[in-house]
Amino acid sequence: MFGKGLVKGLQITWKEFWAPKLTVQYPEKQHTVPERFHGKFVLDVDKCIACGLCANACPNRVISLNKQKVGKKQYLTDYQMNIQYCLFCGLCVESCNKDALHFTKDFNMNQYFYKNIPLVLVRREAPAEPLEEPTAGGEDQPKPKLKPQAPKEEKVAKPAAPAAESEAAAGKEGQ
């Protein structure tokens, strides 16, 4: 019959009119952020050994860190990310072999002033003498944790291509 399609079209829009709306009203409500979201960075300072792998891995040279030798160990004094140049590729997080650098789900890094944009994760003074108790505790704790993990990954990584290694590392970060 002539005009059937016209009526059908009207029916569809009428149905859509009453259908639930998909808009999420942002400031009041938010979509759930996925588990592996690349958001703001956090640095677990106790785990960090100031090796500088993350700074080398960064394609944009976003990360700048300063360290100082205290006793036998390197002590991280300054860790800053020029987040305005960051492309959130995650290479720094993957490259961290102490599992110290992480993503969070916080994506709101807006600032009113340009000078506030760089993300300062660590800024502290180096102690004059090596602190025995906390550094020893901090060193000891991650080591037994990492050791069972590391061989597992090597088993997976060794037979496979180097691409698999990065995948395994990404999987580690996801956890």
Binding site: L6, G9, L10, I12, T13, W14, E16, F17, A19, P20, K21, L22, T23, Q25
Partner: protein
């Protein structure tokens, strides 16, 4: 009480002016008329503001969105805010534009809807002016707005504006014909051009039931007359960047924009009066005031017009002309013919 709210107000004003004493009745009557016309103007403006908001809401709801909801409660002040912004903008006149006509067009564009609403009975005894040849006047004035669109388009001295303006005229000429011819069936049955008589004739049966084809033709032609989708070739945002309004900014554009909604209101009010029984309450629900009924019917039609916009794609100019001349005009002529025969038979039976 509520039924006679507006009529009572007019009577009160009349008696107040009569009570002053020294005013001649003619002057008192003209003051009352002036108040009525101002009330109609305010009514149109407020409704146009509301309709812009409603259009955006309807559009959003049909696209699984929410629509404006930030300015004021539920975004109700959004249009007011937009108009405030547009008022504060500079009026830019193109260098080669015809300045007088260019500025005159948006000023005059509100005239036809105002003039039409002055004679429409918005409720029981609620026509500001009850004209004897109301329908004739209404048709003559309603098509006048095309002139102002054309003025704007011509004076802009821009190819898009001119193209859009030409399309307005072409569309008006080809769709005014089925519009008027479809109303002829109604007028034949009622036997009067007075709108109050037409409404009175629909007390028991709405004319949409006796003239369904005429209603369809009228509604389609009315949508085309107001340059609404699917007949919005005049504006055609994607092809001729808003047609006659291309060179307008600020308040000039706002006037055209609001006038579009005022025109929709006019044609929907016309359809309500001619086919949907005007202010008559259906199913004997007379406890709701007559002007509320008129309003509800008008807004249902406006909603359908808005729904058209978000359902149908824009048609081509040749399809538009073909549909107008090859389908609507013959159909409306056939409708008149059938109505005439039907009336003759009824009369022969002696009904």
């Amino acid at each position: 009480m509520l039924e006679n709210l507006f009529v009572g107000t007019a009577d009160w004003l009349r008696s107040l002016l009569g009570g002053i004493g020294f005013l001649p009745t003619e002057i008192a009557e003209s003051i009352v008329l002036l108040v009525k016309l101002v009330a109609v103007l305010v009514f149109i403006l407020v409704n146009a503001l509301w309709l812009v908001y409603m259009e955006r809401k309807v559009a959003a709801f049909m696209q699984a969105r929410i629509g404006p909801n930030r300015v004021g409660p539920w975004g109700l002040l959004q249009t007011t805010c937009d108009i405030g912004k547009l008022i504060s903008k500079e009026i830019i006149i193109p260098k080669k534009a015809d300045k007088v006509v260019f500025l005159l067009a948006p000023v005059l564009i509100f005239l036809p809807p105002l003039m039409v609403f002055a004679v429409l009975p918005l409720g029981k005894n609620m026509a500001a002016l009850d004209l004897n040849i109301g329908v004739f006047y209404l048709l003559a004035i309603a098509s006048l707005s095309t002139l102002f669109f054309f003025m704007g388009g011509w004076a802009s001295n821009s190819k898009y504006s001119l193209l859009g303006a030409m399309r307005t005229v072409a569309q008006m000429v080809s769709y005014e014909l089925p519009l008027v011819l479809s109303l002829l069936g109604v007028i034949m049955i009622v036997g009067s051009l007075n709108m109050s008589d037409i409404i009175a004739a629909q007390e028991h049966t709405w004319l949409i039931f006796t003239q369904p084809i005429a209603f369809l033709i009228f509604f389609i032609a009315a949508v085309a007359e107001t340059n609404r989708c699917p007949f919005d070739l005049v504006e055609g945002e994607s092809e001729i960047i808003n047609g006659p309004y291309t060179e307008y900014g600020g308040m000039g554009f706002a006037m055209f924009f609001l006038a579009e909604y005022a025109n929709i209101m006019v044609v929907c009010a016309m359809a309500t009066i001619m086919f949907l029984g005007g202010w008559h309450a259906p199913f004997g629900l007379t406890f709701i005031p007559s002007w509320v009924w008129f309003f509800i019917k008008m807004y249902v039609l406006i909603f359908i017009v808005m729904q058209f916009r978000w359902t149908y794609p824009r048609i081509r100019i040749d399809q538009l002309m073909g549909f107008g001349w090859k389908v609507l005009v013959p159909l409306s002529l056939a409708n008149i013919f059938v109505t005439g025969i039907g009336m003759y038979i009824y009369r022969a039976i002696g009904w």
